[in-house]
Structures are given as structure tokens and as C-alpha cells.
């Protein structure tokens, strides 16, 4: 039976302008454009990935949302009606990619940053030093020294620390969810910018062996590609408990994406589903997490910091405290707007809490317990711009994690069809003819440009704040003010409302 679902988009081709070069046909990976004497779009298949429009030399293609109106109904929105139609036709769980697009409040956009005027001076970031260097890892509460007068040596031995030249790290995205070329671009950019990329849970492809000092290797419930060599060839090891887009849900890389290369990297046979169980079956309680953390530390001879990644959920502060006490060197918190290659829509759109509130709660909790120094805090889950980074660091984060933003830098148009494997930009696909569209060198250049630009912007803000080291912003909530937030939200964020002075 033909679907009753209307097309999502209309593709309009201006046949006056069209020179019939067929580039649009070749570029459309969703089979939404055919050529029969002229370019004929199949609106039903269009996902608005913009590939055709971008490559049309005549600018002859326009993509619009299908203006087909439904009878007005705030409650029964067109999206809800379409979802019901879809499920009535299929009986399936609705699967979706990328982050939560729903209009929940974005707290970043309700926080404003301070600046110096007269009583303390701003600093010129173009001509004076402006330090962004950040070290990830557990810090002792204090340092002890030996010796006296001029001949003093450090007695305290610090836990392993990983240096970041910029407090922005690429998020965990597995080889499988994204292409090898995307992984290569991320690794090259991480090396050049002095930051890190993250394998995600799909193992480390042998082509990235030269970048291991810039790579976070992940251990997830599926343990794909996890060996002692994998753990030791890394900048740090991350245990993935949860993901912001799908807290409490496992992963599922369909067998058709498991080709020869992915099979080798994940160490599973070609064509089998790569299923990640919802929990780690060796972790049913916090003491079990501690057991795994120390299994990894023993395996790496205590030379690698161990991070634990969790989704931001209601009780995140207590959970994070438990993670720190379990021995983690880094806590990575992923907010409910974080992206994914594929997740059930019900989970992506309705589970978890915003990263802004989670971060504030965790930083507060760790300070109240006097253990904030024992772990670095990384946050992600829709860090969209450098201003978000500045605000996150002022709330207390050590560094931010960017996934979707890095994909957009490489060409992603956020069409949310990652799970189809048809990504027209060569990012979320394993089809060789599509993967080839992403040149790793160019991808790396674009990622470096993005990070450089954000780095300069952060330096501009530090200068206007009159500080020349990122650690003087870190946790300095005094430099933030809320606008349009109620008292309870302000209290959770630990900031004052705009208009209130010191």
C-alpha cells in the first residue's frame, strides 16, 4: 500500500536556468532526482541535504518545506500527525539521527557575559598573551615540596595529565556511525590544533595509528575493538556509560554497514549487527564502575587518565560525584541535546536534561564535597558556538566537546538522516562512492579553521573580561548574568540576574 505520508520537502527546479548538466542527479544520494529529458525531482525522497542545490552551477534548485497545510491544531501538530501515520503504516519504533530539535529552552541564550570598564582594564588579545592551555586529569588537593631555600623539588606525583591547547575536544563518533574519511579529518585536525578526537565505541582503524597521542579511545558496552593495545595506544581512555541523545539506550550499527574495514576495526564478522547492550554487563552498580576503571588503569599501568561519559539525567550531580569517588580522572557529561547517528525519537526528544543545568549542578556538588579537583569536567550536548564554550567554562567546565558542530564544519546540513547510510556529504555513510566525497585534508582544514576562529573569539572574550588565562574564567560564575530566567533556574545555574552588580 502506498504511504499516506506527504512529502517533507518540495524541490523546485527552474527549467529556464537548468542547463541539464545532471550534477544534481549525480549528487543526490537519496535518489530524489531523476533525469528524463529534464531534471525531475521526487519530492517524497528529498531530505533537504542541499547537496544538489550546492552543486548546481546555475543556482536553479530551490528546496522548500512542503507548504501542504494541515487543519490548525496546536495540540495535534503536523509532526505528531505524521508520526502516527508512519507508525500506523509500519508498527516500528521511529528512528532518527542528530540531536533533539524540539523548542525546549536553550539556557546558553539566557546568559550574558561580563566585560571590564574603567575600574579594571580589558586586555588586548591581539597583542598580549591570552592563554587557553588546559590540562585534563585528576589533580591533588595540594602540592608537597621537599628541600629548602632554592633547592626545592616537587614531592607530589601528579596523576597523568593530557594537554589541550584549546579547551574544545571532538566528540565521540564511532567509525561506523561516520566514515573513515571523517575520522581521519578529525584526527588530523586534533593533531594540528593540539586537541583530541574520540573513537567512539567502534574501535580504532589502523590508518589512525599515527595519531594515537591525540585520540580518546572509548570502551562501551559492546567492547568493539577493545584490546590492551587499543587501551595503551591512546591519549586517554573513556568508559561510555551513556549518551545525551539516548540515555539508558544501547547502540545498534546495522549489519549492512559492517563491511570489511569496519569488521576489522570492530573485530566482528562482516555483515553482523554491532549491538551495544544498554548497560555494561560488568557494571550494575557504582562499585562495579570502579572495578572497570581500575581494570583499565591496571592494563595501562596508571599512565592514562580514565574518563567516564554519562548522559545528563535528573540525578546527574550525585552520579557524577559517585563517578569521581569511583576513581575517574575525567567526567564527561552529555546534555539532552547531544547528537547521535541513530536513536529512537521518543528517547532523543524526551529523555535527559539540558547540559547547562547539569553542568552547574555537577560543578556545585563536587565543590560542596570538596572533590572538584579530583576530576576534570568535559561537557557536550549541543555546544554550537564559541560563546557556548565561554559560558560552559564560566559555569565550571574544564573543556567542551563538539560533535554536531564539527560535522557541520565538514559539510553536514543536519538533515537528521545519519542512520540511512546515504549521507550525501560523505560523513555518516560507509558507501565508498559517498565516503570519497569527503576529502580528509579539506575536512581537517575546515575543522582547524573552525577551532582557530573559536579560539580567537574566546580570547577576545577573555580580553574583554580582563583576564589572560582560561583558568581565571573556569568556574567564575560571577562573570555571567541571567536574562529572562526565574529565580530557581538562576539558583541552579549559580548566577545572578542581569542588572544586579557585584
Amino acid at each position: 500500500m502506498a504511504s499516506q505520508l506527504p512529502a517533507e520537502f518540495n524541490v523546485d527546479v527552474d527549467h529556464e536556468k537548468c542547463r541539464k548538466c545532471k550534477r544534481c542527479v549525480m549528487n543526490c544520494s537519496f535518489s530524489a532526482i531523476e533525469f528524463k529529458d529534464k531534471v525531475i525531482p521526487n519530492n517524497r525522497l528529498c531530505v533537504a541535504c542541499h547537496r544538489c542545490a550546492t552543486f548546481c552551477p546555475e543556482n536553479a534548485i530551490t528546496i522548500r518545506e512542503n507548504p501542504l497545510d494541515y487543519k490548525d491544531g496546536y495540540n495535534w501538530s503536523p509532526e505528531i500527525r505524521k508520526n502516527i501515520l508512519k507508525q500506523a503504516e509500519s508498527g516500528g519504533i521511529i528512528l532518527i539521527g542528530m540531536g533533539n530539535p524540539k523548542p525546549y529552552p536553550i539556557y546558553w541564550d539566557h546568559m550574558l557575559i561580563d566585560a571590564c570598564q574603567v575600574t579594571n582594564p580589558s586586555i588586548d588579545p591581539l597583542r598580549e598573551p591570552m592563554e587557553l592551555r588546559t590540562y585534563l586529569g585528576a589533580k591533588p588537593e595540594s602540592l608537597w615540596f621537599d628541600g629548602e631555600n632554592g633547592n626545592i623539588s616537587l614531592r607530589t606525583e601528579l596523576a597523568p595529565q593530557v594537554k589541550l591547547d584549546i579547551p574544545i575536544v571532538f566528540a565521540a563518533m564511532s567509525y561506523g556511525a561516520i566514515s573513515l574519511n571523517a575520522h581521519k579529518a578529525l584526527a588530523m585536525a586534533a593533531r594540528r590544533m593540539g586537541t583530541l578526537m574520540n573513537t567512539g565505541e567502534g574501535g580504532l582503524h589502523e590508518d589512525l595509528a599515527g595519531y594515537t597521542d591525540r585520540i580518546i579511545v572509548q570502551v562501551a558496552s559492546g567492547r568493539f575493538g577493545v584490546t590492551s593495545k587499543y587501551l595503551n595506544n591512546s591519549a586517554l581512555v573513556e568508559i561510555k556509560i551513556g549518551q545525551g541523545a539516548k540515555p539508558g539506550i544501547g547502540g545498534h550499527l546495522p549489519g549492512e554497514k559492517v563491511g570489511e574495514d569496519i569488521s576489522k576495526t570492530r573485530m566482528i564478522p562482516v555483515g553482523t549487527d554491532a549491538l551495544s547492550p544498554a548497560p555494561h554487563h560488568d557494571i550494575y552498580s557504582i562499585e562495579d564502575l570502579s572495578q572497570l576503571i581500575y581494570a583499565i588503569k591496571e592494563t595501562t599501568d596508571y599512565k592514562k587518565p580514565v574518563s567516564v561519559k554519562i548522559a545528563a539525567v535528573h540525578n546527574v550531580a550525585a552520579i557524577a560525584s559517585g563517578i569521581v569517588r569511583a576513581g575517574a580522572d575525567i567526567v564527561m557529561i552529555d546534555g539532552f541535546r547531544g547528537g547521535t547517528g541513530a536513536a529512537p525519537m521518543i528517547i532523543r526528544d524526551h529523555v535527559g536534561i539540558p547540559i547547562e543545568l547539569a553542568l552547574a549542578a555537577v560543578d556545585d556538588r563536587l565543590r560542596q564535597e570538596g572533590i572538584r579537583n579530583r576530576a576534570s569536567i568535559l561537557v557536550g550536548g549541543s555546544i554550537r558556538q564559541s560563546a557556548d564554550v565561554v559560558k560552559a567554562i564560566a559555569l565550571g567546565a574544564d573543556a567542551c566537546v563538539i560533535g554536531t558542530a564539527s560535522l557541520i564544519a565538514m559539510g553536514c546540513r543536519v538533515c537528521q538522516k545519519c542512520y540511512t547510510g546515504n549521507c550525501a556529504w560523505g560523513i555518516a555513510t560507509q558507501k565508498p562512492e559517498l565516503v570519497r566525497r569527503l576529502n580528509p585534508e579539506i575536512g581537517a582544514d575546515r575543522l582547524c579553521n573552525l577551532l582557530s576562529a573559536w579560539g580567537h573569539e574566546i580570547q577576545e572574550v577573555l580580553g574583554s573580561l580582563g583576564i589572560n588565562a582560561i583558568e581565571s574564567l573556569r568556574g567564575s560564575r560571577e562573570r555571567l548574568r541571567g536574562v529572562g530566567l526565574n529565580q530557581e533556574t538562576l539558583d541552579i545555574l549559580g548566577i545572578k540576574h542581569a542588572g544586579i552588580g557585584q
Partner: protein, 358 residues
């Protein structure tokens, strides 16, 4: 009335005798008066070390009370927490344009043995200071160290000095402050120096990293009630030097850290130390323009920020060490100096009195 902290300009001056010679307060008043135009009459103050030799082993609490009720409540509190050896009015004289002073009283206190089961004596005193300032309405501890005291108020510093009759005190270390706040709080407690135990801080500039310095200290139980960045400096010294036992020069590395570009060029051992300090003590970095003089019973430390946005001159003559915002303020009280220099950014001038000085 306690009020919000206010950004301020300022003048600072300090002098000490390494031999422990006690000098009366007239010179330090002349020195700070020389920089009159750096202040605006809304705050001045002094710290003096070695002024109570007869009771040198007792905690000398200089108190400011808004009213008799606050004094009564505080005295009840003292009875519970200390043995009070003596209490008396802090002598003042009228005139010099000083108006509306609070009740100024001092107490010489000893800590009863039985209070120290789980706490060191100084932690105990620190806690009581925090408690009075945050819990007793209208009561404020201006200073709480042994054999030292802070004398401060609203007015030009030279007037405050005469008001307190500082010519009648002899000290081996004097520091002074003239204040230029950018609004009018009219609160005596808000003047410098800020103190805790025998730490005193006079400060010119504004700490732009106040927000995180404060949250860092709160993690260790400090209560920052005054909302002023100067308070932060006193507490950071207390935390790093007294509680964490960092050598003074290492504490300085934490508060005014070298830049990474310079750390990266250091010799391996120095690099290791400087890196570890920034990694562990990043939240205590004082960022923004400042020059400060920190006094304590064994000496005086001058420090300015790591790109030197506020002025500081130091000088020596015989056993005397001087520091001030302006060289003229030193020349005013000491001629024929042996040496005069401008300390480099982020480099401390550390003066210590000789071991035998009491």
C-alpha cells in the same frame, strides 16, 4: 552595615625593619599621605606588627560594632569561645574630618585547651572569625592576629592614622592603604587592610578572577562575606602557605603564575614545578591588575600581577625594606636609599625579619 564590595583604585605603602626595630606610626602616615591624590577620602587603613608585646601570645581582636547590641552579642560569643584576658576601647581622637565611626573595641583572647580536640588553634580562630562576620549582625572583626592590629575606616588614610593616634604605637612592620572606591559605601569594615589571623593585605587594583578565586576558597570552608577581591588574597595566602604549607615563593607562583610560553622554556625541574602549580592551583591565579603588600608576623611580601598593570616600587636602606605604589612615597620618609627598583611583573619582593625578632 555590611555592603557589597566595590571596585577601587588606590595607593599602598609598606615598611619593615629586618632587625625588628620598632618605629612609631608617623612615618607610614607621611608616606601614604604623599599619595593623597590616589585616594578619594572614602577609605584608609593601616596594619601594624609588634604593637602588643605584653600580650604577644594572645589573639588581639580589633572589633567594629554598629551598635551596643552587637557588642553585647559578640562579648557573649567570646565568653563561649575564648578566655578573654582583657578588653578595652581602641583609643581615638576627634577631628580630622572623621565622622560616624562604629564602636571600636579590642579584645585579647586565648583559646581554651578543650576547644582544640579536632582543630588546630589557628583553624579554630579562623572559624570563629568567619562565624562572627557572617552571623552576628553589626559586628565585624577588623583584625585577629597575635601582636598585630588593623586600624581602618572611612576617610583619607592620613586622617584615619591620626584619628587612631598611630604615633603612639611602635611596630617593626607597617603597611598602609588609601582608597578610591567608585561608589560610596560608607562602611568602615570595607576599608583596607583586610586581615585573617596575622595575614594582612593592602591592595591596589581589582582582581578580575574574583569569581573563581572565591568559589575555590569556599571549597575549603572559607566564607567570603565581604564580596571584595582583597579578602580573597588574604585567604589564599592562608590556604596556600599556612594550610597547604607551600613555600612562600611557590605560593607566589600560584598567585601570579608565569606564562606557559615562559614555563615551556624553563629548566626541567623548574618547569615541572611551575606546570604542576598551574595544573593544581589554576583556580587561585590572581588575574587582572593588582599590586599588593601582604604583611605577616615574620615579614612582608610585595607582589604585582603577571603583566604589571599596577605600579610598585621597592627600596632598601640599612635594615629597612620599603614598598609603595610610587617612589615618592618612599623618598618622603627615607633619603639616601641604598637601592631602589621596580619589581618585575609577577615577581615577589619578599622581606623577612631576622629569626631572633619577637
Amino acid at each position: 552595615m555590611k555592603c557589597d564590595g566595590i571596585p577601587s583604585g588606590c595607593a599602598i605603602s609598606g615598611m619593615m625593619s629586618e632587625n625588628g626595630r620598632r618605629i612609631d606610626g608617623t612615618e607610614i602616615i607621611r608616606s601614604i599621605a604623599c599619595m593623597h591624590d590616589r585616594s578619594n577620602g572614602l577609605g584608609g587603613g593601616f596594619a601594624a606588627y609588634g604593637i602588643y608585646p605584653k600580650r604577644k601570645d594572645m589573639y588581639a581582636f580589633h572589633m567594629m560594632f554598629d551598635n551596643a547590641g552587637a557588642k553585647e552579642a559578640t562579648e557573649e560569643f567570646f565568653k563561649d569561645y575564648f578566655n578573654v584576658d582583657k578588653d578595652e576601647v581602641i583609643p581615638t581622637q576627634k577631628g580630622y574630618g572623621i565622622s560616624n565611626p562604629p564602636i571600636l573595641w579590642r579584645y585579647f583572647l586565648e583559646v581554651p585547651e578543650n576547644k582544640l580536640e579536632f582543630l588546630s588553634e589557628r583553624d579554630y580562630v579562623t572559624k570563629t572569625v568567619m562565624k562572627i562576620n557572617s552571623e552576628i549582625e553589626g559586628s565585624f572583626v577588623a583584625s585577629s592576629g597575635k601582636n598585630m592590629g588593623a586600624f581602618k575606616g572611612v576617610g583619607y588614610p592620613e586622617d584615619i592614622g591620626r584619628f587612631y593616634k598611630l604615633e603612639e604605637y611602635s611596630a617593626y612592620i607597617w603597611t598602609a592603604h588609601g582608597r578610591f572606591p567608585t561608589n560610596t559605601p560608607g562602611w568602615w569594615g570595607g576599608a583596607h587592610p583586610f586581615t585573617l589571623l596575622d595575614w594582612s593585605v593592602v591592595h591596589n587594583g581589582e582582581i578580575s578572577s574574583y569569581g573563581i578565586n572565591k568559589r575555590y576558597l569556599e571549597m575549603f570552608g572559607y566564607k567570603l562575606e565581604l564580596r571584595t577581591d582583597t579578602e580573597v588574597i588574604a585567604y589564599l595566602f592562608d590556604l596556600l602557605v599556612r594550610r597547604h604549607k607551600l613555600p612562600v615563593d611557590k605560593a607566589i607562583l600560584a598567585l601570579a603564575s608565569p606564562f606557559w610560553k615562559d614555563i615551556d622554556r624553563m629548566e626541567p625541574e623548574q618547569q615541572k614545578i611551575a606546570t604542576a602549580i598551574r595544573q593544581v592551583y589554576g583556580s587561585s591565579l590572581l588575574n587582572g591588575p593588582f599590586s599588593v603588600i601582604i604583611g605577616h608576623s615574620r615579614g612582608m611580601i610585595g607582589l604585582n600581577d603577571r603583566i604589571k598593570l599596577r605600579p610598585m616600587t621597592a627600596a632598601r636602606k640599612d635594615d629597612m625594606l620599603y614598598m609603595a605604589s610610587e617612589e615618592s612615597a618612599i623618598r618622603e620618609i627615607a633619603q639616601d636609599l641604598d637601592s631602589v627598583w621596580s619589581p618585575r611583573a609577577g615577581t615577589a619582593v619578599i622581606g623577612m625579619v631576622r629569626a631572633e625578632v619577637e
